[in-house]
Amino acid sequence: MATVQIVDVRKDFGSVKVVKGIDIDINDGEFVALVGPSGCGKSTLLRMIAGLEQITGGEIRVGTKVVNNVAPKDRDIAMVFQNYALYPHMTVAENMAFSLKLKGVSKREIEQRVNKAAGILSLTPLLGRLPRQLSGGQRQRVAMGRAIVRDPQVFLFDEPLSNLDAKLRVQMRAEIKELYQRLKTTTIYVTHDQIEAMTMADRIVIMHDGIVEQMGQPLEIYDQPDNMFVAGFIGSPAINLYPGAFHTEDRAVFVTDGGVIIPLERPPVGAARRRGVLGIRPEHIAIDPAGAVSLAVMVTEPTGSETFILGRSEEETMRCLFRERVALKPGDTVRLRLDPNRILFFDEETGRRT
């Protein structure tokens, strides 16, 4: 196990700047998720940590050692790839033993360690099979087995679940988390799936356009996003964001550009007549006959545990999520209350939370 320090790391491909100066400190034994939309540089960053990509600028330290110019094989790092990257001509056991064999570990010890890893991952009955004879979930487990058998300083995961179907993904998510809790090895996990990041990581790093937008614990980021990008990226269904203006004449309200009037309890200081963006998460909207906002229901999506409603209020569309069952159908009109304590404000120009 080791800490990983990423100091002002940059990566250019020709004239294209993909990673534009990133600082992340990862503690010993921490599980950090790098999350962001495609093209944000998260995979490139992971590949730089692995040593598969040259670093244009900055410094990466594993433990106390600067690894900028250290070959991947000497970084003592294991990586699980999106498409598993199992060696197709080797059996499960050979796949897992490969790194130990290269290191010159004795046959007996290789067998012991492979068996132990196979036991942890319930791969024992599959040890003699070739990768093509395995299902997607089993291949994923072999890929993890190949990583853990080495007992590396750091685990890197590059979107390891995106090739699996939805149900298996949830199952493997739990398995990876369980494995992590058992081994407590420093883990860096790249995903574009915010649910994965939220549910698995101790800390999330949200990346966008080659920079870190925000870093923090999952719920902290969810509740207190630094900016509109983070607010919009984290949370599903996505947060409602309405540009508009504050009015504080007789009572404090926010009037969206689409004409919805939202009463405020505590308008931001100096907000009068200023413009801004109001954000409210779908689950912070409640049905309230005395509510100030009226919504014409357009789409209802009951999933059993919750009900998602998409509707129209004045000129704005609004996403609402109710934990209780609601008997609404398209065409109905309902009055809503936006929880004033949960309303977020952002600067319209900079996107920063105010």
Partner: protein, 281 residues
């Protein structure tokens, strides 16, 4: 599809005609090889006696039938296999390394070089005859197995590289990256990951290179002075200034084809698969 009887019969007839057209010379030649040595085939006819004398004469020499025919093609068979074998080793070893670089490299220089290789492959070999003769002689390699196989390697290397590159292109780079992270050096990646996965491609390339060397005539005839004559040269040798030994020539030709038949019987299927695999993947 349920086509009419006439339709199917006429298709079959056309196919038979095409086969006959192609195979007739072979059939005639085969009959010539089974005729008593010394008989000169003027026009197509069935021999009165079928005999293997021409075959034994070609294999072991026969003394009695004339000076030129009094030699055995056995040493030439060995020469052919040695030259083709050396060529296969040269082309697969060099070709594999080069194909890997061409497959993984991302520079314009490499792309230009790769296309240049293919263009060179299309130039008529005869245009190279004089310079190659001079070079090989200058290094004292004429009439040696090594000299001829060096030339054959040069001729076949572009094809080998092209075939192998197709195969290596189909191997995901993630496998190499996984191996690098697993602790492999670049050479170990080649040895443990790329080579086993490209093995069918190496086999296909080896077969093509072997065949090309085995049947090559022009350079073999320019560079040989007797001791390194390959089979095609020996077969052509039955045609002397004074006499042509048709029967022995035919027998030797058919014997030289045996390895080809064996090869196509076992490897033809894989070869086609290998070719198309390399092409589309």
């Amino acid at each position: 599809m349920n086509r009419s009887f006439t339709y199917r019969t006429s298709l079959l007839f056309l196919a038979a005609l095409a086969a006959l057209w192609t195979l007739f010379p072979f059939a005639w030649y085969f009959l010539v090889s089974l005729t008593t040595p010394g008989h000169i085939p003027r026009r197509f006819s069935f021999p009165d006696v079928l005999t293997l004398d021409s075959y034994t004469s070609a294999l072991f020499g026969s003394g009695a039938k004339g000076i030129s025919a009094n030699y055995s093609i056995l040493p030439n068979i060995i020469n052919s296999f040695v030259v083709a074998g050396l060529t296969v080793i040269g082309c697969t070893v060099l070709g594999f390394g080069a194909a890997y670089v061409f497959s993984r490299g991302r520079s314009t220089t490499l792309a230009v070089l790769f296309n240049a290789l293919l263009v060179i492959r299309m130039t008529p070999a005869v245009s190279l005859a004089v310079p190659i003769y001079l070079m090989i002689s200058a290094y004292g390699l004429s009439d040696t197995h090594l000299g001829l196989s060096l030339v054959h390697t040069m001729l076949s290397l572009p094809l080998a590289i092209w075939l192998l590159k197709g195969f290596i292109d189909g191997i995901p780079t993630e496998l190499e990256e996984a191996a690098l992270i697993d602790g492999a050096s670049v050479l170990q990646v080649l040895r443990y990951i790329i080579l086993p996965l490209a093995a069918p491609g190496v086999a296909v390339a080896a077969c093509f290179v072997f065949l090309a060397s085995y049947v090559e005539f022009m350079f073999a005839s320019i560079l040989s002075r007797g001791s390194s004559d390959t089979l095609p040269i020996a077969i052509a040798g039955y045609n002397s200034d004074h006499q042509t030994f048709y029967n022995e020539m035919a027998a030797a030709s058919f014997m030289s084809m045996v390895p080809l038949f064996i090869f196509f019987y076992f490897a033809g299927r894989y070869m086609v698969r290998g070719l198309t695999m390399g092409a589309v993947k």
